[in-house]
Symmetry: C2
Subunit: 137 residues, 2 copies
DNA sequence: TTTGATAACTTGCATTTTGCAAGTTGATAG
DNA sequence: CTATCAACTTGCAAAATGCAAGTTATCAAA
């Protein structure tokens, strides 16, 4: 991620990853694609958290530059683009899965969604394998 | 995390977690404690990435409020406090481990640290168990 | 063909977060 | 007592995010 605040550059693996998706929206965009199957700008715009249009556009560009996702023209609709996670992006499945497990354990809110975390709890390896294969969890 | 930009509130587990550590520094503070064994403000201040003093103070307070870490007076040094990850914080070990593995696979920088990710690659469960038990990986 | 709708952004400005660097306060050591 | 240290705090600047209106290219219908 090309932030003005210089990248961490510490060489630590956690820092390296956070340089790519350690902002407010990066991992949520990736989640929308991996877990919900979002593929277009409009679908991502209609995500659960209400990302701003300028931030979404910027994030998509940065994640594309980081090799996390790819952007191609939609052959069936000249106005639309298709965004897809690359293998590099899909390989973040274990991170998403374990974050969901952690949250399921500690989030006491009554309105918490449990679909994804329930699936992970039931079959963590299966969920990860499917996301890595480009399928829904 | 009490950010003015309203919390996501979507109910999604990933969003719940990012509300707590989805800022620029949260997960790095947690890493410093889990992976390096940092326990004092000074040790955290001397982290690999150069966090600002005001941000560190603020983050420690927020993470304490979120139940990720605890703060207690150092009985041997009246000027110092000891910060320790709670079980809730230590339960983020799988997330840290997965991030490290992912980065080891995709970070091509020659100066990348490989200690933690090598340990995870060799024995992911062992690393997670040790961190969860409050030990170093 | 024209008109209206739509997808994907872009733009201008406001608010919030992070960064820099100096400063303060309480505790310790000599 | 003075000097040093640990843990912040403070004031301001820079960067990131949010809001809401706007623009452009493409598609669909009349």
């Amino acid at each position: 991620m090309t932030r003005k605040h210089s990248k961490y550059e510490s060489g630590c693996p956690v820092a390296y990853a956070l340089d790519i998706f350690g902002d407010r929206w990066g991992l949520l965009v990736i989640r929308d694609m991996a877990v919900k199957g979002a593929r277009t700008y409009g679908e991502l715009q209609n995500g659960w958290e209400g990302i701003s249009t300028n931030i979404l556009a910027q994030r998509l560009k940065q994640l594309e530059e980081a090799g996390i996702l790819s952007k191609s023209k939609d052959p069936e609709n000249g106005r639309s683009y298709i965004y897809a996670l690359t293998q590099k992006g899909r390989d973040l499945a274990p991170v998403l899965a374990d974050i969901a497990l952690w949250s399921a354990k500690y989030n006491k809110a009554g309105h918490a969604m449990t679909g994804f975390s329930d699936k992970v709890r039931a079959d963590r390896d299966g969920v990860i394998t499917r996301i890595r294969a480009g399928k829904l969890p």
